[in-house]
């Protein structure tokens, strides 16, 4: 059994401008000790999916359907007190901007101790000792002294390490990282991803890494889900999806990368148009207005995610043989300059 199973999750929000269908039938699973990369652009629904797993979208104007099973227990139906026992302890989350996730007015030692004491009955002294160890484990020099620092006294990379320390100090089974390195310089990003991989290997934590950066997914994920307009377009083992992508949106993403063009004199291959507003998602297949391969059926029927090879699911009306032919030409096994 998978550690975490998201089944047909639907999340919508009622707003003055209409209903925002943020997540529209998402089915995903995460296995113990493995990394699932969720790739998507703005409005793909990837962040709301993660927040819903953590129970952070239980708002008055929200409508949540489907199930999120953590070892068989549905998190969506848990009463608040039981959910709090899960959140932070069994499933932890880190966010994009550590400056806004850490409380600016409390020292970081205090914040980590608070996280520990929320879930375990330990003395402050013991908790503080663990906090110091956690900081050392994420590579912060002079860890014990650093416990007395305020977030603003640290650089972006250091703050993100603090967030990771706080998330992992209780040894959760799953770490959800929502764009953890997007706001960081590329050399710092390399350090942070390296850290996450190392900690995962050490603790056996499952990781859900949410990002818009295909490169980050390529080097960290075991499995990848490509999301568009609140739905999963393609899902499968990393090598399969990169070598033989089968969804036109995935093709579009791969082809629009500057690194995919041989020379400067060649124009890039963007996807026409823009991601849709989640208040007015196109009918049928949400990608059809931007899809160069759209068939007459596409605006009328939403394609379901169907596995064409074991574990490789694609939601598209194009015939499998056609997709395989096109995908093979775009796949990342092609040597690039």
């Amino acid at each position: 059994m998978a550690l975490l199973e998201i089944r047909d999750l639907r999340v919508s929000f009622e707003t003055r401008d209409g209903t925002v269908r943020a997540v529209d039938g998402v089915t995903l699973s995460v296995d113990r000790g493995r990394t699932l990369g969720i790739v998507g652009e703005s409005g793909s629904g990837k962040s709301v999916t993660a927040l819903t797993v953590m129970g952070l979208t239980r708002l008055p104007n929200a409508r949540i359907e489907g199930s999120v099973l953590l070892e068989g227990v549905d998190l969506l139906t848990l009463p608040p007190d039981r959910l709090r026992a899960v959140r932070g302890k069994r499933v932890a989350m880190i966010f994009q901007d550590p400056l806004s996730s850490l409380h600016p007015l409390y020292k970081i030692g205090w914040q980590i101790v608070e996280a520990i004491q929320e879930h375990e009955r330990v003395s402050e002294k013991a908790a503080r000792a663990r906090a110091g160890e956690a900081l050392a484990e994420v590579g912060i020099p002079n860890a014990d002294e650093r416990l007395s620092s305020y977030p603003h006294e640290l650089s972006g990379g250091m703050r993100q390490r603090v967030m990771i320390a706080m998330a992992l100090v209780l040894d959760p089974e799953i770490l959800i990282a929502d764009e953890p390195t997007t706001a960081l310089d590329v050399t710092v990003q390399a350090q942070i991803l390296d850290l996450i991989r190392g900690l995962q290997a050490e603790h056996g934590t499952a990781v859900v890494l949410i990002t818009h950066d295909l490169g980050v997914v390529a080097e960290t994920a075991d499995d990848v889900a490509v999301m568009y307009a609140g739905r999963v377009a393609e899902l499968g083992p990393l090598a399969r999806v990169l070598e033989g992508p089968e969804h036109p949106y995935t093709w579009g993403l791969l082809r629009s990368l500057p690194s995919s063009t041989a020379s400067r004199s060649e124009p890039l291959h963007p996807i026409d148009g823009a991601p849709p507003s989640l208040i007015s998602v196109p009918s049928g297949c949400a990608f059809h207005p931007r899809c160069p391969y759209a068939l007459p059926v596409c605006p009328h029927a939403q394609p379901r995610l169907i596995e064409t090879t074991p574990r490789h699911g694609v939601a598209c009306h194009l015939p499998v043989a056609t997709r395989r032919l096109i995908g093979a030409g775009i796949g990342a096994s092609e040597a690039r300059v």
Partner: protein
């Protein structure tokens, strides 16, 4: 004659302590001796991480800031300390495209008014003529001229960036400084904007100073690329050459840190150079070579003597005591060709 020449450019931002009696407390050495040239119609890419000083360079070149020392020569005319009055006619010729399409457009003015503003400020044309020119430009950047009376919030991020570009081109400039023009955009939209910038350059004979942190983007758009670290250029070379044969260890680390979309991306991790620590402070930069504190090749001389930019052949210069793959460098020439 190059359209833009910058020589020994320095910008220090003084730090002061105290309100009543402001005492000097040192300065932020944002830019500390920069030299480069951009030929007419060419594109120079400027790459660097946070604290490298690249955004300060954008503001110095457009004279939004006045240099502390050094020279800026535009089309043969020194503008280093030119007065506001002397600069005004030049403001038609030197324009800036900003990073954030959400904060660089006044939300309370129509798109037409925003794009027309530079014409209005320069007192170019009658109202009717300006209107016609604006509509012309909206079309050139791929927007519907009929949307003249709409407000920024009615457009997507990519469209807003097009509006910003239209505004930058409305006075028919010669030099366009693009400060991270695509960083805030979705991947599939980035390619559209990069294509647009390329087309416009060809059509209007524009010269670009293109500042970005995304190495793949910079490589695609630039003829030559300068790598900045803590206020200095550490390497400058023709674009493809820089990526194929980096000479400076920082460039090497930067290139190695960029995640690639490859099936065997994880393999690549073995040879990745992960820099230690965070970039040092720009208030008190390290002695000698500024990069020596994080460089795995550093020796004693690196902390003592600042390396000069040396020509390694073919217009490829770098400032390093232990250049990578070094063939003995050619005679000293401090300025890039």
């Amino acid at each position: 004659m190059p359209l833009l020449r910058v020589d020994g450019l320095v910008k220090h931002f003084p730090l002061t302590r105290g309100v009543v009696l402001s005492r000097g407390r040192g300065a932020v050495h944002a830019v500390d001796g920069l030299s480069f040239e951009i030929p007419r119609g060419g594109t120079l890419g400027l790459v660097g991480e946070s604290g490298s000083g690249k955004s300060t360079v954008a503001r110095l070149v457009t004279r939004l800031l006045e240099p502390t020392a050094g020279e800026i020569v535009y089309d043969g005319t020194p503008i280093t300390h030119a007065s506001a009055r002397a600069l005004r006619p030049l403001r038609r010729e030197i324009q800036l495209v900003f990073q954030d399409p959400y904060s660089s457009l006044n939300p309370r003015r129509t798109v037409g008014a925003i794009v027309a503003e530079p014409l209005r400020l320069q007192r170019i044309g009658t109202r009717a003529e300006r209107r016609a020119r604006v509509r012309e430009l909206l079309e050139v950047v791929g927007l519907n001229p009929e949307h003249y009376n709409r407000y920024p919030h009615e457009f997507s991020g990519g469209q807003r960036q097009r509006i910003g570009i239209a505004r930058a081109l409305v006075t028919t400039p010669k030099l366009v400084v693009a400060d991270e023009p695509v960083s805030a955009l979705d991947v599939s939209i980035q390619a559209q904007i990069l294509n647009l910038l390329g087309e416009l350059q060809g059509e209007f004979g524009l010269t670009y100073l293109f500042i970005a942190h995304d190495l793949d983007v910079v490589r695609y758009v630039s003829d030559r690329v300068a790598v900045m670290y803590l206020g200095k250029i550490v390497e400058l070379s023709p674009a493809d050459e820089l990526y194929a044969r980096p000479v400076h260890p920082y460039t090497e680390a930067l290139l190695s840190a960029v995640p690639q979309v490859e099936v065997d991306a994880r393999e690549r991790l073995r040879s990745r150079i992960v820099l230690r620590g965070d970039p040092p402070s720009a208030v008190s930069p390290p002695s000698g070579c500024r990069f020596h504190t994080r460089c795995s090749y550093a020796t004693e001389i690196c902390g003592a003597v600042e390396p000069q930019l040396i020509d390694h052949g073919g217009g490829h210069v770098a400032a390093c005591h232990h250049p990578l793959g070094a063939t003995p460098p050619a005679a000293v020439g401090a300025r890039a060709a």
